[in-house]
């Protein structure tokens, strides 16, 4: 089971929305994940424990080795399916 870290400005609002959409979508496609949420400022310190980082907005990905997917599309609703598929691919074993 892949471990995914959802990050946003305060680790509360948009990361919750994104995490729920992703977890629901993955479940429909038979993929289970374990996930946590955090503030973007914490990502650099803890990203090493995860297989994938999904941010709801801007993030400087050069700071970490874990792959990062920016998922603002799940908030705006534009290009949502593509982003969900990208995350699904990354979460398949």
């Amino acid at each position: 089971m892949k471990r995914v870290l959802f990050a946003c400005g305060n680790g509360i609002v948009t990361s919750t929305m994104v995490a729920h959409k992703v977890a629901d979508y993955l479940e429909e496609n038979g993929v289970e994940i374990k996930y946590d949420q955090c503030k973007v400022q914490e990502v650099a310190a803890i990203a090493g424990d995860y297989d994938l980082v999904v941010t709801s907005g801007q993030f400087n990905e050069n700071e970490i080795k874990t792959p990062v997917i920016m998922a603002i599309n799940l908030l705006t609703g534009i290009g949502e399916d593509e982003t969900l598929e990208e995350i699904l691919e990354a979460c398949r074993e």
């Binding site: 400005g9 305060n10 919750t16 929305m17 973007v40 907005g57 609703g77």
Partner: protein, 471 residues
């Protein structure tokens, strides 16, 4: 008819008297049903939010029991009058959601948004219902203090109009500086800073010499990065306050650990609140988007999507110790910054974008913005404390946050409504109308676009003309 109205008000009063835990699920269920959710889903959403509220309440109680006496001792030991506790934005936002006029204000804000979109007065579609908490706090506070539902709705309505326009006007910055197109930020806790930042930036731009100063703050992240981690921030602040309270070593460390727990637990509890609101929020989103098919607009989001920017994080880290220092040295300030030190990114993100990443300017403006927040929080504390206590969030001391009535935009509307609304509200409307005219007619969105891209107006217009010709 009379009997019906009286019966309605009696029922309304009974719900209010029953307290926030009864009111919250009812409010959310009603809202969910209005937007077409099934009853079972709407009810579950309401209860989930209630669970979040209970959790927030538990954690703030822990903060009160531990931090309250320590702050008191600190006041006695050193005479620093920091007796207003910053319990964080989420605690106060949850209180606002438990106000009896929530359904009215939520529907009001959505109606205003739809009307403004329909008459093309705004480009921002704002269906991020969670963030209506700013309008709810403002309107809810006015209603709580004055009991006047009309002025409460005027306050929240005006705030909505102003917020949508601020979101429109700052959209080029979001698109160019943060690189996020088609998105605007009708997020009061972030755009409120522009009220102070925009005139100050203009002023700094017109002082010879100052104009070209910039700072390189790349080292800040390395040395102050730990301030960005809530557990560490809580631990350090708790230990400092414990030391100033002259606790023994064990006492100091205990307070540090408790405050670390508060910083980590408070967001976890708030997550439940957001989870509960999500079905209602998505239903409202569908409801609105259906009505504007084919129309191009910016989607209104939480500023959470831009605060990951490096310059924003850097400035926010630097503002943690500076805000604490300001709190100590500003005469007449009573607010002890604590829980909201974790979210300074939101207060400064639009400042950094407005200054196009110039850290010297951003830093100066951020100091003024935080000063305004500390003072407004101090002054509003008695009202905010009573408001929170009416929803079951009881404190022995006064409370505040850097959100709600501490924000410049809310502060102006709130004070106008509780002092002399007949004079001040028309005054605010006139000033806002003047600003509106000035920005849309004199400055123009093209000039803002050009500024955001770092070009002159002529360059930008030439490019636009070229692009149009190519098509």
């Amino acid at each position: 008819m009379d009997a019906f109205v009286n019966g309605f008000f009696a029922a309304f009063q009974a719900v209010i008297d029953a307290g926030a835990y009864v009111m919250l699920p009812i409010i959310i269920t009603v809202l969910g049903l209005v937007f077409g959710l099934k009853f079972s889903k709407a009810f579950k959403a309401g209860i989930t939010i209630d669970i979040g509220f209970a959790g927030i309440n538990l954690v703030t109680q822990l903060m009160k029991d531990q931090l309250g006496p320590a702050a008191q001792a600190m006041v006695e030991n050193f005479g620093v009058q920091l007796d207003v506790l910053d319990v964080g934005w989420s605690a106060l936002a949850s209180v606002a959601w438990a106000s009896p006029i929530v359904p009215l204000i939520v529907l009001e804000v959505i109606a205003i948004n739809i009307i403004m979109l329909a008459v093309r007065m705004t480009n921002t579609l704002d269906v991020d219902i969670w963030n209506y908490h700013s309008m709810l706090t403002c309107g809810g506070l006015v209603f709580f203090v004055t009991g006047n539902i009309v002025w409460a709705l005027v306050a929240s309505g005006l705030m909505a109009v102003i917020t949508f326009k601020f979101a429109d006007w700052s959209q080029p910055l979001v698109s160019k500086f943060f690189g996020i197109p088609n998105v605007s930020l009708p997020h009061v806790p972030s755009v409120s800073s522009l009220i102070i930042a925009a005139p100050m930036n203009w002023l700094l731009d017109h002082i010879p010499g100052v104009k070209d100063i910039d700072l390189n703050l790349s080292g800040v992240k390395k040395y102050l990065g730990f301030f960005g981690e809530p557990w560490m921030l809580g631990l350090i602040l708790g230990c400092i306050i414990g030391a100033l309270a002259k606790y023994d070593i064990a006492g100091i460390f205990t307070l540090g650990v408790y405050m670390s727990a508060v910083m980590v637990l408070l967001p976890r509890m708030t997550v439940l609140f957001v989870e509960g609101l999500m079905p209602v929020s998505s239903a409202a989103s569908k409801f609105c988007k259906k009505r504007f098919k084919g129309r191009e607009f910016s989607i209104g989001l939480d500023a959470a999507v831009v605060v990951g920017n490096d310059s924003v994080i850097t400035l926010a880290l630097l503002m943690v110790p500076i805000t604490l220092l300001l709190a100590v040295i500003l005469p007449g300030n009573h607010m002890l910054p604590f829980a909201d030190l974790a979210v300074i990114t939101f207060r400064v993100c639009m400042i950094v974008a407005l200054c196009r990443g110039n850290m010297f300017r951003s830093l100066i403006i951020a100091c003024v913005v935080m000063t305004a927040i500390l003072y407004a929080g101090t002054v509003a504390a008695p009202y905010m404390t009573a408001f929170a206590s009416s929803a079951g969030l009881d404190f022995d001391s006064l409370i505040a946050s850097t959100c709600g009535p501490s924000l410049t935009m809310s502060a102006m509307l709130f004070w106008s409504c509780i002092t002399n609304p007949v004079v001040f509200i028309p005054a605010i409307v006139v000033v806002f109308a003047a600003v509106y005219f000035f920005i849309e007619k004199k400055v123009g969105m093209n000039r803002i676009q050009a500024y955001a891209e770092g070009k002159t107006l002529e360059e930008y217009e030439a490019e636009q003309a070229e692009a149009a010709a190519e098509e």
